[in-house]
């Protein structure tokens, strides 16, 4: 089956520090990866879409300078939240798209900022 592993599951970081999270597709090749953030109010925001060997497309209000993404191959992606503040807290979800156009998600990396 198709699985997506995300690490770490939870991070508590001090305001102004950074958090790196990883995403691994297992059992399939991810043709693209989408990074989302789920707010404490449970709404979803798309941060960026990443396809191997193509430019990463960031959504409005999200930038590469703040959320740099690495996507070196069809099974792995990582994203860093730089200089995290309270408004960056939430559950960061990695969605890996299969060749059948299903987006499989991991368990998420929860960012808590203190």
């Amino acid at each position: 089956g198709a699985l997506v592993y995300q690490y770490p599951r939870r991070t508590i970081c001090k305001s102004g520090t950074s958090m790196r999270m990883e995403c691994q597709a297992v059992g399939f090749q991810a043709t693209s990866v989408a990074w989302y953030r789920q707010s404490p109010q449970k709404t979803f925001e798309l941060i960026a879409l990443s396809t191997v060997n193509s430019a990463i497309k960031y959504e409005q209000n999200f930038t590469q300078e703040k959320f740099p993404i690495s996507h070196p191959n069809l099974s792995f992606s990582s994203m860093t939240v730089l200089n995290a503040y309270l408004e960056d807290r939430g559950l960061y979800l990695c969605g890996a798209r299969s060749s059948g156009n299903t987006l499989y998600f991991g368990e998420g990396s929860r960012l808590i900022v203190v």
């Binding site: 995300q6 043709t31 693209s32 989408a34 989302y36 449970k42 709404t43 979803f44 798309l46 879409l49 396809t51 559950l91 979800l93 969605g95 798209r97 156009n101 299903t102 987006l103 499989y104 998600f105 991991g106 368990e107 998420g108």
Partner: protein, 115 residues
Amino acid sequence: TQTVSQSDAHVTVFEGDSVELRCNYSYGGSIYLSWYIQHHGRGLQFLLKYYSGNPVVQGVNGFKAEFSKSDSSFHLRKASVHWSDSAVYFCAVSVASSSFSKLVFGQGTSLSVVP
């Protein structure tokens, strides 16, 4: 701009009852419709999706959904729920222009199954 509406924020049923979770969307082009489940504190688990063909799609754990173009709906149903089905359910639409990777989610419906 595509939108997804889940009219019920909370649904409570007894174990063994049937349930329908409602989803309506607005978009005129080529789309995928999906349902995901999120248990408390967890990530999103894929349940099922529809793109074309038979409007009734079967998913995991006995869930199924029916697409209706005339009603712009994609309601999720289960004939007999279990207490472990208690979770938040999200309906989502994705469009061809984003290579189907950009999902627009509904607000979510919290399902509570009383043992």
